[in-house]
């Protein structure tokens, strides 16, 4: 892709969450459950929600090569979120959830980043049990999507 990305993700940036399954879009809404922590095929337990950095044209170029995850399934697109909006998420009643976006570049995806969340000081991972706080965070992420871009 050739673009240099700063190690620190600026609050001015947008990030994109790839929506692979069309079932995550219904009734004009994106599902809160689309914002999830995954266990990778390697067995790695993610402690962030995977996103991509870059403007729409860069994302279009990059995501063009993404394949559907399921045979016979179609790829849907990606949801755009502003980093400042993510960092400003507040979860009532205690606001015991802190949210940040950090850079996790790889050779293949130098523009890869992750949304990290700590609840009561403990990092949420793909093996953390579902709690109301996690659901509220996912709902907030779904609500701050500024745009759903179809592939």
């Amino acid at each position: 892709m050739g673009e240099e990305f700063s190690e620190i993700v600026s609050s001015e940036e947008n990030v994109a969450r790839i929506i692979f399954s069309p079932s995550f879009i219904f009734g004009g809404r994106v599902s809160p459950t689309a914002f999830r922590w995954e266990i990778l095929p390697s067995g790695t337990v993610e402690d962030y929600i995977s996103v991509l950095r870059g403007n729409t044209s860069k994302l279009d170029a990059a995501t063009r090569f993404f394949k559907a995850r399921n045979k016979g399934d179609s790829r849907y697109g990606y949801a755009l979120l502003n980093v400042s909006d993510i960092r400003n998420i507040k979860i009532l009643p205690n606001n015991n959830v802190s949210v940040d976006v950090k850079s996790y570049p790889s050779k293949t995806f130098p523009f890869h980043a992750g949304i990290i969340a700590d609840i009561d000081g403990k990092r949420v991972t793909a093996v953390t049990d579902i709690t109301p706080e996690i659901m509220m965070l996912q709902k907030r992420l779904a609500m701050i999507c500024s745009e759903i871009v179809k592939f």
Binding site: F20, G27, I39, P41, N70
Partner: protein
Amino acid sequence: MRKLVVTINDSAVMPRLKSAIRQLNGVERVVAMREVSLRSVPKVGKTHQIFLQRIDSLSQLSDGWDGNDSKAIDSECIKKIRHIITKIDESLLKGWVLFPESHGYLYFDYTGANSIAGITLTPNKMVYFVQKGDCVQKNDGVKLTSANFISVLEQVNG
């Protein structure tokens, strides 16, 4: 044999009424029954149908539907929610949308003018939050029953 149905609106009348009927010739037996309100069993309406179709659609997802670690929706979840949905008054379903969840669960999502809510349904329990303004109700594990599910919907619309 023929049956006679008598509807009363004051239970205090019952003993005298039963006694009087029993004294008549040709009466075999007298049985007291509570009336089942037809209004408490909603008809399967258009909104129910939309949810049932959505449940059927999500039940088709197979393992791996959203990456390696995602599971097909649990059949017990599907069975229970199909049963529960048709018991709910359609007005309570307004604003709710159903989504899949990668552990094989179902997720009910609500967005209203001044409120949001979510219910994760596992085969045995439900985890939920209801936020109305600054007021939050939440529970990280209550048994999945029709009554408990309807109670959460009523918290949203109440």
